[in-house]
Amino acid sequence: MSSFTAGDAVRVRPVDPVGHTRVPRYIRGHVGRIVDAQGQWPLADDRAAGITEPRVETVYTVAFPARELWGEGTHEVTVDLWESYLERAAEERA
């Protein structure tokens, strides 16, 4: 079921949904590295929309270097993201 494994480079899909989502805007379109898969959880977007059988997907912990997000900084930010928020990225950016 899980498409990504630890170390994979992923890009957060540059989407901008109208309703509730758990993708913070500061990571949209940015490339990060899969740290961990957390198992399967119902998709928050679907549950917030009142869908009685929400999609169930793997949630990943994804690490983003500060430089990727803000153009500067040495820290890292990790965000927990459902699989449909992510797409595979070219390896060289990770």
Binding site: P24, Q38, G39, W41, V59, T61, G73, H75, D80, L81
Partner: protein, 196 residues
């Protein structure tokens, strides 16, 4: 945030809403009281502190805790199933070279069972907006200055996991037992905005 008058207005609003929901049989007063009793008696940073003290004194427990916190917590009679649904807990370890700090930029996700009700600053826009952008400036406002060589990781809990920091054990505490060590651990230490 609100003045005294505004507060009493909102208190009236809440009382009316509660009365109508109780009258309609949607919620019960006993149920509401039980929810608050459970929160105020059960949810506390004392729980997180016990976990930390055990990890400091029992290397096997620490290894299990870092690998899979949900299966390690029952060793202390704790669990992540006390809320609306069982949550995954990830414990992140501070070391000489790595410092971890927690946030929820979208709302206020927080391991309430282990850390107690969250402080207002954790829920504030000031904290949520800035800690992902410039964590060192935020930590400095708490009086925590980290050496340049330390890598900071900010954990934005945006899904179903909750996080807790395993702080570094203070120097000079070798002689202390588990209970005495637990008393050293603060809520801010478990969030990562203070050292212990």
């Amino acid at each position: 945030m609100s003045g005294e008058h505004a507060s009493s207005t909102v208190a009236v609003r809440v009382r009316r809403l509660e009365e109508r929901l109780v009258a309609a049989g949607v919620v019960g007063d006993d149920q509401l009281d039980a929810i608050l009793t459970k929160l105020l008696n059960g949810a506390s940073p004392v729980n997180g502190a016990r976990v930390v003290a055990r990890a400091w004194t029992d290397p096997g427990f620490k290894e299990r805790l870092l690998a899979d916190a949900n299966t390690a917590l029952p060793e202390l009679g704790l669990s992540m199933a006390g809320g609306l649904q069982e949550q995954r807990l990830k414990v992140v370890e501070n070391t000489e070279t790595e410092h971890n700090v927690l946030v929820c930029t979208l709302c206020s996700c927080y391991p309430i069972g282990l850390l107690g009700p969250s402080p207002s600053w954790y829920k504030s826009e000031a904290y949520r907006s800035r800690v992902v952008r410039d964590p060192r400036s935020v930590l400095a406002e708490f009086g925590l200055e980290l050496p340049d060589g330390v890598t900071v990781t900010v954990w934005d809990s945006s899904a179903e996991s909750r996080y807790m920091v395993l702080p570094r054990r203070p120097d000079g505490t070798d002689a202390r037992g588990e209970e005495a060590l637990a008393r050293l651990v603060t809520r801010e230490g478990l969030i990562g905005t203070a050292a212990v």
